[in-house]
């Protein structure tokens, strides 16, 4: 698969990473090379093979329904770039 500028721009937008227009071409080449490298997998017949879901062959552990966490707003907000009245603040979202 060879990616063009438009595809790279779309990926960057999905990943929320700003890419300058002048960098798109270079990035397209780079990402295309990587895709070509990983596409060697296509040559392997994987019919009837189940995808690995976890290397740990365990049961999913469960917690009991007890409140034993939270209640420490100061720890939650300690590293916040912007906060007020116990809330995180972000640029206004217009819906």
């Amino acid at each position: 698969m060879s990616l063009d500028k438009v595809a790279v721009k779309n990926i960057a937008s999905l990943a929320r990473i700003e890419v300058r227009d002048e960098d798109l071409d270079g990035l397209a080449v780079e990402l295309s090379n990587i895709l070509r490298f990983v596409e060697q997998l296509a040559e392997v017949n994987t019919d009837g093979i189940a995808p690995m879901t976890s290397v740990a062959h365990l049961e999913l552990p469960r917690r009991s329904d007890q409140v034993n966490d939270g209640g420490y707003v100061e720890r939650v907000l300690a590293n916040a770039p912007e906060q007020q009245d116990g809330f995180f603040l972000v640029p206004k979202v217009v819906e």
């Binding site: 929320r16 329904d65 034993n68 939270g70 209640g71 707003v73």
Partner: protein, 484 residues
Amino acid sequence: MSMVIQGETGDWEMVIGLEVHAQVTSQAKLFSGAATDFGRPPNSQVSLVDAAMPGMLPVINEQCIYQAVRTGLGLRAVINLTSVFARKNYFYADLPQGYQISQYEQPIVGEGEVVLDMPDGSTRRVGIERLHLEQDAGKSLHDQHPTKSFIDLNRSGVALMEIVSKPDMRCPEEAAVYVAKLRSILRYLGSCDGNMAEGSLRCDANVSVRKPGEGLRTRAEIKNVNSLRFLQQAIEYEARRQIDLYEEGGQVVQETRLFDANKGETRSMRSKEHAHDYRYFPDPDLLPLTLTPAYVSAIKADLPELPDQKKERFVREYCLTPYDAGVLVAEQANADFFETVAKGRDAKLACNWVTGDFAAVMNRLGRSIEDPPVTAEHLGQLIDLIADNTISGRIAKEVFELMVETGQAPAVLVEERGLKQVTDSGAIEAAIDAVLTANSGKVSEYRSGKDKLFGFFVGQVMKNTGGKANPALVNDVLRKKLEG
């Protein structure tokens, strides 16, 4: 209830499917030990996991699995013994991880059904496509500041069941009845409190229209409908919009639309259209969830009587009409109240009282079944007094009002106020004689064939006895005297 909409180019039919998000009743969140209570100070019920701090990991709450399985069984659905949690990736300010842990290809519950009791007494079956567990997002407040949105993560990570119906509904009323029935089942199970105002039950509607007999056309998803009334309005508006669009030669685009309750219309959410690619993949922080058949059957054996079964039993045991039974069982507390009243008594009479005068007074006074204006025991005693002819039905209404006012037992009120029915045939005979004597002209008219006057005589007798005369006895004696 019209299933068909007249358009300029002929008849149209609505196709409606609903996605209901029901908050799982649990103490702690789906993947963390933080509390789920409503209305607490911002970010006070947030663990480091819920805030998606670096290196934090999810561990599932067993109660949420239990509730999902119970709900699945309550919806007569297939329980999948293996299900997989997947990440739904998207960016939003109140989605701390940058993904929602949900279930995608392998949900915990598969196909099931909900039976709707329609107001005309008929029933409709609506298929359930699936039920899956997922995390709720946090809350964004947009009105606190001119240029900022405020983020509260208290809801972040709360367990939701997303219950997806098949596109089996054909009119807004059915959609509303479906949500009401689903809510009733969830409340019976105790797996969701069903509180739409607090957001523990939320509803998105997928609406399309088509010419009868056609396959499915493009649908729009309407978000943010937080009451049954709005749900119906939104569907009605949206269907009409789509019909108009088609009839003007346009096309419906698949999109997410927001219902504006103030304007009563839906509008496109352009923000949601932007790159709608959730990049689902199995969450590598979790393993597949496996359930044993024994676990599922133990839950099944422990299920409470659900609305459909209760309705069936009420029809069978109490000889109620399916409609009356359906009304009574919608809320478990109402059904329980009814059963207390009806036990060992005339069930039809009990039903009439509970759904009639009692319900009316409760409404008028703004009381609830948990805090009733008259206890079930007292209402039962009132029915006993009617049944053993201590009072007449008419007097009973008077006694009932007194019960509401005073909270006293009906027998006490009847005794104190002398409302006991007169069943002494001598006394009734005397009263009748007095009426016939005073109205001898009318007696002649009656005897010459004016049958209708019978009611007049009964009325006079009742009036003169202060309504306490036993109406059946009055009828009996009066007829004999007039014809004798």
